[in-house]
């Protein structure tokens, strides 16, 4: 029988620990497929964060680092500067990147580090059991905002992609979603473009991926996808936020 589909070589044989309905698995697969399709698995080095994807170093088949909470962009800087021909990516959640690691992501971006950040935004701290994230929506109920996120007390969510795209260092910043087949395919395109820019030495690239957390949102897998579509996408508009190729036209 002809082989029509095959798991990407970018991922190992280890079964992931992600909850049913969580979209981390899809995003892992997209990154693995892109690295394989670009033929760079042999010189790719990934940096896993602290958060739900803390075990990502077991799932990607390329060389990997586990970073301290929020520090992945600094670790990636050290890797890329010391091994310039490598293809380096960080894989970070919203707490890791947009709270404790805000300084690291902003400065890696503004230095124009030739790395790619995959920023998984599911508007909650998943691993610790559902606390408010820097990207939790106004009014969103979490463990630490049991009456809903009151912006007068807990402040406002950060639009990370918009913020990063104001800097001069980034070459490409796009926000995508994995709530539907159509959007998953778009997400893959964006991730591929980000890595292509890195390989071409254009500068810092980031793809923000709107993602689900059915467990801590208290929803079924299908309901979670609907919640993402109905609540997150209106607040975090999808699309290209910065593209230096576009600017050059």
């Amino acid at each position: 029988m002809a082989l029509t589909f095959e798991k990407t070589k970018g991922l190992t044989e280890v079964s992931t620990h992600y909850c049913p309905g969580c979209t981390h698995g899809i995003i892992h697969r997209l990154v693995g497929e892109v690295l394989e399709e670009l033929g760079v698995l042999d010189k790719a080095i990934g940096v896993a964060p602290v958060g739900c994807s803390v075990l990502a170093h077991e799932y990607f088949s390329c060389d990997m680092f586990g970073a301290a909470h929020g520090r992945a962009p600094a670790v990636a800087t050290g890797i890329k500067r010391s091994v310039p021909d490598s293809v380096v990516f960080t894989y970070q959640g919203d707490g890791d990147l947009a709270a404790i690691g805000t300084a690291e992501i902003v400065h890696a971006a503004t230095r124009g580090e030739k790395i790619t950040t995959i920023f998984v935004n599911n508007a909650i701290y998943g691993m610790t059991g559902g606390q408010m994230a820097p990207t939790s929506l106004p009014g969103q109920v979490t463990d630490t905002t049991p009456y809903g996120r009151d912006t007068g007390v807990a402040g406002f969510p950060i639009h990370v992609s918009e913020m990063i795209s104001t800097l001069d260092g980034p070459a490409y910043v796009e926000r995508v979603s994995v709530d539907s087949v159509k959007n998953v395919l778009k997400a893959k395109k964006a991730i591929k473009k980000a890595f292509e820019y890195q390989i071409a030495g254009k500068g810092f690239t980031m793809v923000e991926v709107l993602s689900t957390c059915p467990t801590n949102w208290g929803l079924s897998a299908a309901e979670a996808l609907n919640w993402l579509r109905d609540n997150m996408i209106p607040y975090y508009p999808l699309g290209v936020k910065k593209d230096i190729a576009g600017e050059m036209k």
Binding site: K43, T77, I79, K80, S82, S86
Partner: protein, 357 residues
């Protein structure tokens, strides 16, 4: 033989690091070590190497984690408050067994403290600093020449044992100008860095630089392995100097770094008065040279006087090493004040008169 040049301590560290084939320097400005970063900024790019001014000490140590984990010789430097910030990263580096060198040009604390020389980071450097059961070799030079020599040694030890190493100086040593000779060292036989995460490049299994072990059985085994490594370092990497300890002394002083030099002056003053004083100078603060006290415990009549620019930190290790066999007393200055030879001699005399125990 190499040429003799006049250099500042901080610059000698930079030059020695470059001669030790350090490929990357990641730093953040803080007094009194900024000249080292400036030296590296000037010379590393010209040599085709990497200098990055990080956004914080936290970022700098994590850049070191990345470069060191990719198998490349690298370093960072800072001063006390900055090293506190680096301590999280140093714990990860020790846990993930990443070779690198960290320079601490110590200044007075706690908190923002002062910018004057101090030795009040001894506990932080030798007893952990960051979280978890770890140690790292800590070198305490007492001259610009020794700063240069130990820098190269630290890089070799880091690579041999897959460990962070610290060079601990103080503002005095960093700013002092002295002649230095960069000699060709016999390089150690170092193991290949087959553990490094620098891309598969044909390798069949992937490497991961990581300090996470979720299963307690695995984490305990990792800790047992780390402890075995620390034991090996203790057995092989202790350095110390004995000064005038081959005679029967009235008192032996224990001191390191800048303070040891002041103590040597106090020993000269003592000799003029017919008082015999020796000096044990630990060069590695961890592993601590217990053996130096074994060798000298019968060479002192009134015991040991530990002198530090702190409230008394190394004195605890001296007491453990002497283990009650002789009295151990302490004299220290704090907050950036440097002990003077006359006051040290005064303390020696008080010990001899039985006034301090």
């Amino acid at each position: 033989m190499g040429e003799k040049v006049l250099m500042k301590g901080t610059e000698a560290i930079g030059e020695a690091a470059m001669r030790a084939n350090c490929q990357c320097f990641f730093g953040y400005p803080i007094t009194p070590q900024t000249e080292l970063a400036a030296y590296m900024a000037k010379h590393m790019p010209k040599a085709g190497r990497v200098f990055v001014q990080a956004e914080s000490e936290v970022a700098a140590i994590n850049m070191v984690y990345g470069a060191g984990g990719a198998g490349v010789r690298c370093m960072t430097s800072s001063s006390s408050p900055g090293v506190s910030l680096k301590s999280e990263g140093i714990s990860y580096i020790a846990g993930a067994e990443v070779p690198c060198v960290i320079v601490n040009i110590v200044r007075g604390g706690p908190g923002l403290g002062s910018i004057q020389p101090a030795q009040s980071d001894y506990f932080q450097a030798t007893k952990g600093g960051g979280h978890g059961d770890y140690h790292m070799p800590v070198y305490a030079p007492s001259s610009v020449q020794e700063m240069a020599d130990l820098m190269q040694e630290a890089f070799d030890v880091a690579d041999e044992y897959r460990t962070p190493c610290m060079i601990m100086g103080d503002g005095m040593l960093g700013q002092m100008m002295e002649p230095v000779e960069f000699t060709e060292r016999t390089p150690r036989q170092l193991p290949p860095k087959d553990w490094a995460a620098s891309g598969l490049r044909g390798r069949q299994h992937h490497n991961a630089i990581n300090s996470l072990y979720l299963q307690p059985e695995e984490l305990e085994k990792h800790n047992i392995d780390l402890q075995a490594k620390f034991q090996k370092i203790k057995e092989n990497e202790i350095h110390y100097e004995l000064h005038k300890c081959d005679r029967d002394n009235d008192v032996i002083i224990a001191a390191y770094g800048t303070t040891a030099r002041v103590c040597k002056n106090a020993i000269k003053l003592a000799e003029a008065e017919g008082i015999k004083v020796g000096l044990v100078r630990p060069i590695t603060l961890w592993p601590f040279p217990d053996v130096a006290f074994e060798e000298t415990v019968n060479k002192t009549r009134f015991g040991y006087l530990t002198v530090e620019m702190s409230a008394g930190q190394m004195v605890e290790d001296v007491r453990l090493a002497v283990n009650g066999r002789k009295p151990v007393t302490f004299y220290g200055r704090m907050g950036g004040m440097v002990p003077d030879p006359v006051s040290i001699l005064e303390r020696v005399k008080q010990m001899m008169d039985g006034e301090v125990r």
